[in-house]
Structure formats: structure tokens, C-alpha cells
Symmetry: C2
């Protein structure tokens, strides 16, 4: 039997000394979260190279009663992969399990190990003339196991769904070390409870995802990127509706941003020009894709934009004329977080409400926040097509960062109460981790919390798997 004290030696025999880190400077990158706001501690970091090694590591930890924190690319925004401040856990990093195990073109599936970088999965699909559509800012460093464990969203959810919808099968090491092989590449399988659904989005609290079978799609032959100036969020919702009616699934992305986030991005993008010469209070970035000819698609999009303009609310629009211009449009959208960071301390929210209620939500939020903190700068942007906004706020010009940071609980309360009133979610695509755990519990019913705890107990009765994440006291 292992004991707490010799678990590190035991793990070294399982994975080899070269794949086990105990030196503080070696462990450092695994102990601090990406935003550098959270710091934890660990007994050691192990970097297994196979599912069997993960299984052996988990079994040894389970036997010794030592908690485990699974970690992918450590790019999460809620500290789900960062150890907490409590017990000394073993961090299990998946980075060395990064093989593409198989591609089946005719079945449109790819089988990947959890430690594959998202970009690596996209590239492997592209090499096989297929599309893996998951796309988000961190795609060059996040790992697919983390994407699965947080049910990552990103910019193409409107057309292709969240990571959950892209997942056909999983391989998982359970909290007792056993391996569940659910690596099926089937689009229809109704032979009992769909267990993979529990592990997707569980942030490593029910087991460690070691591999997955993911959906692939045909590569679109034509892509059109457009920038549209609109007079209001209501006009943007109407535009979304008419584009969906007229373009159907060609509509791949529909991003809304207020003018302030655009100006912040422009101010911090060397030499970048606004996509439209005219000024607008709100902007929409759209992306469309089709299997056919690019000129045909462009013409179709222009027709829809013209009709929307005649119907009112759409003031001006430009289509990117080449790939470089398309990248510039997207670069502006993606530079908003950095522009915001450089402007002053910001409090960030990742919320969703029914799309139909976005305009009212933005009105009500602006009123309530301005009343509470005069001069507060509201910087809303995000995936309108999914009802998901990064509803961020930056300090008033005259306020210090510290004074504004101190108001975080008040600001969260205002925003999240409103989200709750609108039957929305306080974490649309970032998960709960340790940062939003208690905030989520505040708004969930007792029944729902009871069910979540029942699931946790059923899968991890000893509570060793990523304790304290998602649920308190677990």
C-alpha cells in the first residue's frame, strides 16, 4: 500500500524520473494560471506518455488518497486546471499524450489524444482535406483535452456547435484508475446512458479524458468575411434573423461589438484602420462559408445586406476583398481583450441570455452599472449568434485600478443578478473552475446542486479528482 509520503517515488517508478517534476522552477508553469491571478501548490507534476501510464498514476494516487489535478494547455480563464491552495495534489499534465491516433475520411472522424494542441488537430484535419471547426483565441496553445473538459465554444459555434457537439467518443481514466474505452465513431448510438456527455464540460472532476473521437466536416470552398455598422443591438438581432433565413448554415460566425471595444482594439493595433469609414454605435463581424463559388457567395451576401439596409437599422457594410483583409477584420475583433487590458482595470463576464433578450439585457445592464458607478465604461462584445457576450466593464477614466478592482463583487452582483433574471448563464463558455464555482452555486437551485453532487459522488466517491473545482467541498 502506498502512503502519502512515498507517492512521489512510486509515481517516478510508473512514468520514469524524466517525466516527473518536483523542482519548484520546473513545476512553476503548472501552478500558476494563464491570467496569473491564481497560484496553487503541488506535490509533483507527472507527464505520462500513454493511457496506461495515466491509469497507473491515478490508481496509485487513489490508493494513497492523494488528490489529482489534470491539466492540458493551462489556458483556462477560471482556474479549473490550476491547483488550489489546499492539499498538495499531483498535477497530471497531458502534454506528452499528443498523437493523432487515426483519421477516417469517409466517416468524417479524427481520433486524437488529449494532449494534442487544438491547432495540431485543425492541421491534421486540413491535411486530410477535412475541417475540424473548433476555433478560439488560444488555439495555438490550448489542448483538446482541455477544450473537451470545458466544452469550449469559440467563434464557429453558430454553425458547428460547442466542443460537446463535435464529440462522438471518449477514452477516460476514471478516479479509481480504470480505463473507460468509449472511443466510438458513431453518429447514432442509443444503448444506454450517454456517459461521454458527463465527462465533457466536467473540468476533470469526474475523470481524466485521455483521447477522443471528433467530428470532421468538408472544407468550405468559399469564405466571405463582412463588417457591418448597425444602429443598435436590436438591429443586430434583426440582421442575424434575416441572415439565418436567407443564408441558412452558410452563416458561420456572427460577432457583435459596441463601438468602444472597437476603438480600444484600434488604439492598440499598430496602424490598423477601422473597416468602415463611417462611425457607428455598434458593429457586427460576420463570416459565411459555402461549398460553391466565392463570387456567388459574395453576391448572395451583398443581396441580403442590401435588403437588410433597406429594412432599416443597417447603416453601412464592407466585405473583405481578400484573405488579408479578412484577417484584419478578425484581428480587430481578437485584439479587443488586449486593448481593454491596456486601457485600465477591467472586470470580465462571460454570459449568455436568450438571443431575443440581448437588446433589453444591454439596456438594463448599462443603466444599472452607470447608476452604481458613474463613468463606468461598458465594453460588450461577443458571439451574438449564440446569445453569448463577453460583458466586460472598464474603470471610469478618473478612477484608479485599485479602487475599481475593489468594486468587483458589486459589479458581479449587478451583472449576474440581471443574467439570472433573464434566465441566462453566468458562464457561457469558460466553465466554473475555482473562480466562478461559488457564484454559480448562488444561482442554481438546490435540486440542481444535489444532482450535481450525486453525479460527483457516483463517479468519484473518494473525491480525489480535481477537488474543489465546479463544486465546493468536493
Amino acid at each position: 500500500m502506498n502512503t502519502n509520503s512515498n507517492i512521489v517515488e512510486r509515481l517516478a517508478t510508473l512514468v520514469g524520473a524524466a517525466d516527473l517534476l518536483t523542482d519548484p522552477s520546473d513545476m512553476e508553469p503548472f501552478l500558476v494560471d494563464w491570467r496569473q491571478r491564481l497560484r496553487g501548490n503541488a506535490r509533483c507534476v507527472v507527464l505520462p506518455r500513454s493511457t496506461e501510464q495515466v491509469s497507473a498514476v491515478v490508481a496509485a494516487c487513489a490508493e494513497a488518497g492523494v488528490p489529482i489535478v489534470p491539466q492540458g494547455g493551462n489556458t483556462g480563464l477560471c482556474g479549473g486546471a490550476t491547483p488550489g491552495a489546499g492539499d498538495l495534489p499531483v498535477v497530471v499534465g497531458l502534454r506528452r499524450m499528443n498523437r493523432i491516433r487515426a483519421i477516417d475520411r469517409e466517416n468524417n472522424t479524427i481520433t486524437v489524444e488529449a494532449g494534442c494542441i487544438l491547432k495540431q488537430v485543425q492541421d491534421a484535419a486540413a491535411e486530410a482535406d477535412r475541417l475540424f471547426p473548433l476555433s478560439l483565441g488560444a488555439e495555438g496553445s490550448c489542448q483538446i483535452g482541455g477544450n473537451l473538459s470545458t466544452n469550449a465554444g469559440g467563434v464557429h459555434v453558430l454553425r458547428y456547435g460547442n466542443t460537446r457537439e463535435l464529440t462522438l467518443g471518449l477514452e477516460v481514466v476514471l478516479p479509481d484508475g480504470r480505463i473507460w474505452n468509449g472511443l466510438r465513431g458513431l453518429r447514432k448510438d442509443n444503448t444506454g446512458y450517454d456517459l461521454k456527455q458527463l465527462f465533457v464540460g466536467a473540468e476533470g472532476t469526474l475523470g481524466i479524458i485521455t483521447a477522443a473521437v471528433l467530428k470532421l466536416f468538408p472544407v468550405p470552398q468559399a469564405t466571405v468575411t463582412g463588417w457591418v455598422g448597425v444602429e443598435s443591438p436590436a438591429a443586430a438581432v434583426r440582421l442575424l434573423d434575416s441572415m439565418q433565413a436567407s443564408l441558412g448554415p452558410r452563416l458561420v460566425a456572427f460577432e457583435l461589438m459596441a463601438d468602444l471595444p472597437l476603438q480600444m482594439a484600434l488604439a492598440h493595433s499598430d496602424g490598423a484602420q477601422p473597416p468602415l469609414a463611417s462611425a457607428h454605435p455598434w458593429h457586427v463581424l460576420v463570416e459565411l462559408a459555402d461549398s460553391g463559388d466565392e463570387d456567388d457567395l459574395q453576391e448572395l451576401v451583398l443581396d441580403v445586406l442590401e435588403a437588410a439596409s433597406e429594412a432599416g437599422g443597417v447603416a453601412d457594410a464592407a466585405l473583405a476583398q481578400n484573405i488579408e483583409q479578412s484577417r484584419e477584420f478578425w484581428h480587430l475583433r481578437e485584439t479587443i481583450p488586449e486593448g481593454q487590458t491596456r486601457t485600465g482595470y477591467s472586470i470580465k463576464h462571460d454570459i449568455s441570455v436568450p438571443i431575443s433578450r440581448i437588446p433589453e439585457f444591454l439596456d438594463r445592464g448599462a443603466q444599472a452599472l452607470a447608476k452604481a458607478i458613474p463613468g463606468i465604461r461598458i465594453v460588450p462584445f461577443g458571439h451574438l449568434g449564440d446569445g453569448n457576450l463577453h460583458y466586460n466593464v472598464t474603470r471610469p477614466v478618473e478612477m484608479t485600478d485599485g479602487d475599481f478592482a475593489a468594486k468587483t463583487p458589486d459589479v458581479n452582483r449587478i451583472v449576474h443578478e440581471l443574467v439570472h433574471e433573464f434566465h441566462g448563464s453566468i458562464s457561457a463558455e469558460h466553465g466554473l473552475g475555482q473562480v466562478k464555482r461559488d457564484e454559480a452555486a448562488r444561482y442554481k437551485s438546490q435540486v440542481e446542486l444535489d444532482l450535481m453532487r450525486a453525479v460527483k459522488r457516483a463517479f468519484d466517491p473518494a473525491g480525489i479528482m480535481n477537488p474543489g473545482k465546479i463544486l465546493a467541498g468536493t
Copy 2:
């Protein structure tokens, strides 16, 4: 405290005497399955009119330790909604909970009660100029609660997904009578375990779904239905691949059938004509939809079919020239089960394998079955686009129905062993119920069965909810 003996009286006080059936002839339709192969018994049938009544009924049964069998339209093919032969349960029929609670056009969602007939949901969506895409043979009598509980598939899965993918939120009465309100209309929500995923496809073993928020879509403006004669399943898979590449999500349905099922359908459809004048060993029925002009879509489809024909394997094709002809094509496809029934005793399977392996599966299956039962007639048809075939077999011409029926275990063993070898599913879209429960257990790993049992225990520790369905001894 209720006792077993007075539970019926107690339930009558909860729902009213008019909504409680005890007369054998009144109960009869609830006790026999749709295919009339299974018969159970029940203490009584209750027909609650609200979620609160369902909650009260379940709480009373839980207190008295009386098992419950939830039932929708009772059109299932595996006996999931039919009482078993054991204990005397209470059947809870949902048919009187059939309100459309809300439609949100801009959010593209509809909120429905479990007892709504699928057709009613489709019609309510259409009235709001929206599409609810779930479509299957029983749509005029099956209820959406049953569709959710079996994760129903149907003919549009290729484009829109299974019922699971169409579900955003659920309301569920839990096995202790408490109500879980998870009626969210959000496309992104990552605030803990996605509990609704457990209830979808659970066949009423974890709780009773009482209402749901479902996704709606724009109504396609153009639809094209085509019939294609192909030389082999491999040619059909190649055609699927090229249609997906060239037509993307316009491809809504892709159905494969051997010539024998077509001939059976023709023989039992008064005056129906084969769609193609020429004879072919295999046939594909395709449906395409788009937001644009129907002539444009038709031209596009013809181009793709012409290219496929030049590439080889596609022998002939016809596009339906009007709605009536399109209905005739689909009628032939939907008449196959009846044609098969009239031809002689059949043993039916609902299997899926990776699409890439369908041709090999069909080859191997035909060889193995012909060897075991010379003259056996193989009648494969189904949703090739989802890798899902109704792999049915009809008795040899010279064999009696009874002799062939006696061979059911042998035939199932041959087919399911092959499915297992191909990493497929022995129930792609029909669920397990009581009919396929033990067969599924035979092919699942011990780890997977343990996890399923853990889920069942966590949600229904007393085991009163649809006992014996999905899992034995529960």
C-alpha cells in the same frame, strides 16, 4: 404513510378519478407495445395534467415503494414504455400534458410539454415560420417526451442531429418527486455537469421528462428530392462523400436501400411505380434543402450527380419534379417495413457502424447469414448518412414463419457479433427498453456497465423509475 394497498386511492385524490384508469379494457392500450409483442400489467394508469401533478404522483409512489412506468405515445420498438411482467407498477401517461408553452422566434426556441405529439410540435413551429426538424415514421402519434427519452433519430439527423442535439433545456420530475427546472433556452451554458444529457435517452429510468426547450431553424425555401440508382454500397458511400463536399449542409437526408426492400415496398403499394425505369442493385434517396431558389438548387444537385456519374458507380438518377412526386419517393422508402411484414416473418436490427465500413459490413453480413440459413433474404435499408441501417432479414421463401422465428437468437448473434467487431452499435436509434437490454449488456465493457449502474443508483437509489429497462435488476 401510503402503503402499497391504498396507493390507487391516494393517486385518485391527486389527479382526480377521471384521470386514473383501473378498468382492464381502459388500461389495455397502455399495457401492450406498438408491435403487439410485449404485454405487461399495471396497478393503474394515471394521466396527470401538470408538472405538479406528476410530481405529486411520483412522490406518492416513492413513499409507497411502488414502481412507475412513464409512457408517451407508446410507439417505441423496444418496449421501453411498456410495463414488464414483474411488479404491478403505476403507468404515468403524459398525453394530457400537451401544451406548447412558448415560442421565441428570435431565439429560435420552442418550449413544449412532454405529451405533445411530434406532429403538433412541427406544426406549431411552422405556424411561427420556423422548422422543427425531427421527423420519423411515427410522427403523427409519438410524443416528444418519448422522442427525448429515446433520443429519437429519424430521417433528418444528417443535417440537424438526433433529438439530443435539438434539446436546449428540460424539466424533469425526479424519482423522489422533486422537480428539476432546467428549462433554459441557451446555446451556451457551462456552469457544471450538463444534467439534461443524462435524461435524454434514459428511457424514463432516471426521472420523467415533463417539458423541454427545443431548437428551431429557419424554414428552407427550396427542397429537392432525388432517387439515385447505384451499383454498390461503396458507390453510395462515395456519392455521400461527394455530395457533402459539394453541397455541404444542403444535404438533409441520404437513405440507402437494397433493391429487395424497394421491390417489397412496390409490391405492397397500390399502383406505385419505381422511380427509375432501369434496374439497379442499390438505391439512394436524397433530400436537399436551401434558403434560396429551388431551380438553382436543382441545377446544383444535377451538376453533382452528373460529376458522380462520370466518376463511376452512379448509374441513373431522377429528381422529383413536384411535391407529389417527392412524397411518392418518400412513401416508397417508408413502406418498406410494411412490405417486409407482408412478405414473411422478419428479424429486425437497428445498427450503426462507421460509415466508411458500411460496404464491408454488408458484404460480411450477407456471407455469414447465407451460410447459416441458405435462402435467407437480407433487406438492408436506412440512414447511410448517419451510418445507421435497419439491417432486417426475412425468412427464406421455403421456410415457415415459425421455423424462422425460432432462429432469432442465432441471427441476432451473427449480426451483433459483426456489429461489435466493427465497433458499431446494436441500437442506433431505437433504444434498449426491455427487448435489447441484455443484448447490449453482452457487448458493453464491465467498466461501462458499472458507470451506468452508478448513474442509476445516484438518481434513483430506490429503483422505482421504469425498473428493468436499460439495465437488468434495477
